[in-house]
Amino acid sequence: MGQLNLNKVQKFYGTFEVLKGIELEVRNGEFVVFVGPSGCGKSTLLRMIAGLDETSSGDIMIDGKRVNDLPPVKRGIAMVFQSYALYPHMTVFENIAFPLRVEKMQEDKLKAKVENAARILHLDQRLQQKPGLLSGGQRQRVAIGRAIVREPKIFLFDEPLSNLDAALRADMRIELAKLHKQLKATMIYVTHDQIEAMTMADRIVVLNAGEISQTGAPLELYHKPANMFVAGFIGNPRMNMLPVTCKAVTDAGVEIEFKGQSATIPVAGRADLVGQPLTLGIRPEHIQFGKSDLTMNLTPTVIERLGAQTVAYASLDGESENFCAMLPGSAPIRTDETVSIGVGAADCHLFDGSGIALERRVALTDIDVGLLKIAGG
C-alpha cells in the first residue's frame, strides 16, 4: 500500500509562506508528477513528504497514519536525489546494499535482494565497480537501486534526470515508466521539465508560487487548463495570449470580438461576462494557413526550422507583440513576408479577467485516450 494524503500542508521560512495549504490525495500505485517553475515549492513539498524538511502545519498521511514527526525510514518512503548522492568509496553493490546494512539484514538475504535490484536495473555487470567509473545514466540507476531494495511504499524522485543529457534522459524516461509498471508502487516525481511530466505521469500536479494551480491527467491539463498559468506552462512553445472583448454569451459559447472580427468560442460562458475584457489563448500548433474562424496577418521575424515543424516568432497584424506559430513540415514562410493564417474557434481557450479558464467543450476521447478505439478493431 502507498496511499498519501496531504491535508492543508503549509511551510514557512521565517514569515515567508513557501507552501500555502496544499491539499492532495495520491492513490496507491499512482505515478504523480509535481511540476512548476523554479521556486514554486515543488522540491520543498517533496522533501517534506520525505521527512527531510519540517512541516510547519497540516498533516502528511501515509496509509491513513500521520507521519509528520516520523523520520524518513519509518514513513516507508525512499528517495532518489537529483545529484544521485552515491557513496563514492563504496562499490555499486555496497551502495545498493546500504539501506539493508543499516537494517542489519542477514548477508544471504541481503545479497539476494541487491542482485535482484541490480537485475531489474541492468547493473549486474557493474556490481563490483565504484560509482566513479559509471556513466551518468548508470549512476542514476544505482541511486534508483538503492531506493528499490528497501521496497518502500512510496518512491520520491527529486528531478532525477535533470543532470543527464537529452538522449539519455529520453531513455531513462522510458525505463522509469517500465519500472513503475513492474513495481506497481506509488511514485512521486518532481521535475521542471514538462515533457517528463506529460510522458510519465498518471496525474500531474502543477504548482505555482506555493499553491496547486491544477491537478489532472496530462491531456486534461493540455486540453482543459484551469487557468492562464497552467495554459502557459503546459505546451511547448507557449500558448499565445491575446486580449479580446466579450460581445455575447449564447448556448453555443462565448462570442468575442478581436480586431474587428467576431467568433464564437465553444466554452461555458456566464452572462456577466458581456462587455468584459477576456484573454484568448491560441496554441502555436493549432495555427494553419489560410482563412478560418479567426484570421490574422503574420509577419515572421525569426523562423526556426525543425524538420517536422516550422516555428515562427512573428508580429501579428503589424504589432510588435511576440506571437508564436508552429506549422507542420517545412512551411513556405520567410522572414518579413506577411502571410495570412487562421485558427479554428474550437481550438481556442478563453480566460476571464482574473485568469480563470472558461470551461472548453472538449470531446472526452481527447482527454482519456483509453476511450479511443483502434480503427477497424
Binding site: A50, G51, L52, P71, P72, V73, I77, A78, M79, F81, S83, Y84, A85, L86, Y87, P88, H89, F98, P99, R101, V102, E103, K130, P131, G132, L133, L134, G136, R139, R146, R150, N163
Partner: protein, 286 residues
C-alpha cells in the same frame, strides 16, 4: 602533440628561467641550513673552527653518527619520547576533532559561529603566554613531570586549527550524502563512520600531518617547563645533552638532529600517500 603542455601552462623561455630562478632562491634559503648542518655532522670536531672556514669537510666521515650514541646514552629514549608524545597527541586530537568538525560542518546550532571564533582566538595565544597559569594548573592536578604534562597542553593548543581545517574539508562533502543516508535510516554516528569518514580521509590525513608536526614543534617549550625528569625528555630538550660544560659537541649535535627527525620524516612520507585527491569522484554531479 600530447607531450606539449596545455595552452595555459605554456611559458616563454625567459618566464621559465625566472620561475626556476625563483624556486632555486627559495629552496636555497630553506635547504641551506640543512646542508650546512649535514656537512658539519661529517667534520671532525677539531676542524670545525678551522680558519679559513671551509664548507666542504676535509677528512669527512660518519664517525659522529656512531659516537653520538656513546656521549649521550639516553638519546634513543629521547627520540622515542618525542615520537610517542606526538603520536598520542595526534591520536587524541583526531578522536576529538573528527566528531567536532562534523558537527560544525553539518549542524546548525546556537552559538556555533561564536564557538568557532573562540577557537580561532585561542590559536592567537601562543603556548608561551600561558605558561605560568598552565604550570599552576599542572601542579594542582599533580601532572608535573609526567608524559601528560607535555601531551595535554599540546592537544589543547592543536585542536582549534585542526577543527578549522577539517570543518572546511567536510563542508565540501555534498550534504545530499548525509540526507541519502538519513532517508535510508542511518543514524548520525553511522553516517559519520560509514560515509563521511572514508570520504574525508584526505582531509583527515592533512590534519594528522599538521598536528604531528605541530606537536613535534611545541614539545620543546612544554617539556622545558613542565618536565624535569630525564627519562621523559623529548628530542628537542634531549639535544641539550650535547652542550657540555667545556664545549658544544657540534658535529654530534648535528648528527643527532638528523637522526632524531628521521622517524617523523618516515611517518609523514607514509601519511602523504593517503593524500589522494578526487576521492569524491562520482558522488554527485559537479
Amino acid at each position: 602533440m600530447s607531450t606539449q603542455p596545455a595552452m595555459i601552462n605554456r611559458y616563454r623561455w625567459y618566464e621559465l628561467i625566472s620561475i626556476y630562478a625563483g624556486i632555486f632562491l627559495f629552496l636555497t634559503f630553506i635547504l641551506a641550513p640543512f646542508v650546512e648542518g649535514f656537512l658539519v655532522s661529517l667534520k671532525p670536531l677539531g676542524l670545525l673552527f678551522s680558519s679559513p672556514y671551509r664548507f666542504w669537510p676535509e677528512n669527512g666521515s660518519f664517525t659522529a653518527y656512531r659516537t653520538m650514541w656513546v656521549s649521550v646514552p639516553g638519546f634513543a629514549r629521547y627520540i622515542f619520547n618525542s615520537f610517542f608524545i606526538s603520536i598520542i597527541v595526534t591520536a587524541m586530537v583526531l578522536i576529538l576533532v573528527i566528531p567536532a568538525s562534523y558537527a560544525f560542518a553539518r549542524f546548525k546550532f546556537r552559538g556555533s559561529g561564536l564557538l568557532l571564533g573562540a577557537f580561532l582566538a585561542v590559536t592567537m595565544f601562543s603556548g608561551a603566554v600561558l605558561l605560568i597559569p598552565l604550570f599552576r594548573l599542572m601542579r594542582t592536578f599533580g601532572l608535573l613531570n609526567t608524559y601528560f604534562a607535555m601531551i595535554v597542553p599540546s592537544v589543547a593548543f592543536l585542536i582549534p586549527s585542526a577543527i578549522w581545517l577539517l570543518r572546511t574539508y567536510m563542508m565540501r562533502i555534498p550534504r545530499e550524502l548525509d540526507e541519502a543516508a538519513f532517508v535510508d535510516g542511518a543514524s548520525h554516528f553511522y553516517t559519520l563512520r560509514r560515509v563521511i569518514l572514508p570520504i574525508a580521509m584526505p582531509g583527515i590525513t592533512v590534519v594528522a600531518i599538521t598536528t604531528f608536526i605541530g606537536s613535534y614543534a611545541q614539545q620543546f617549550i612544554f617539556a622545558l617547563t613542565f618536565n624535569s625528569k630525564t627519562e621523559y625528555m623529548p628530542l628537542p630538550v634531549g639535544l641539550f645533552a650535547y652542550f657540555g660544560r667545556q664545549e658544544v659537541i657540534w658535529n654530534e649535535l648535528m648528527a643527532a638532529s638528523f637522526v632524531g627527525i628521521t622517524p617523523a620524516i618516515i611517518v609523514i612520507f607514509f601519511l602523504q600517500r593517503y593524500l589522494v585527491s578526487g576521492l569524491t569522484a562520482g558522488a554527485v554531479k559537479q
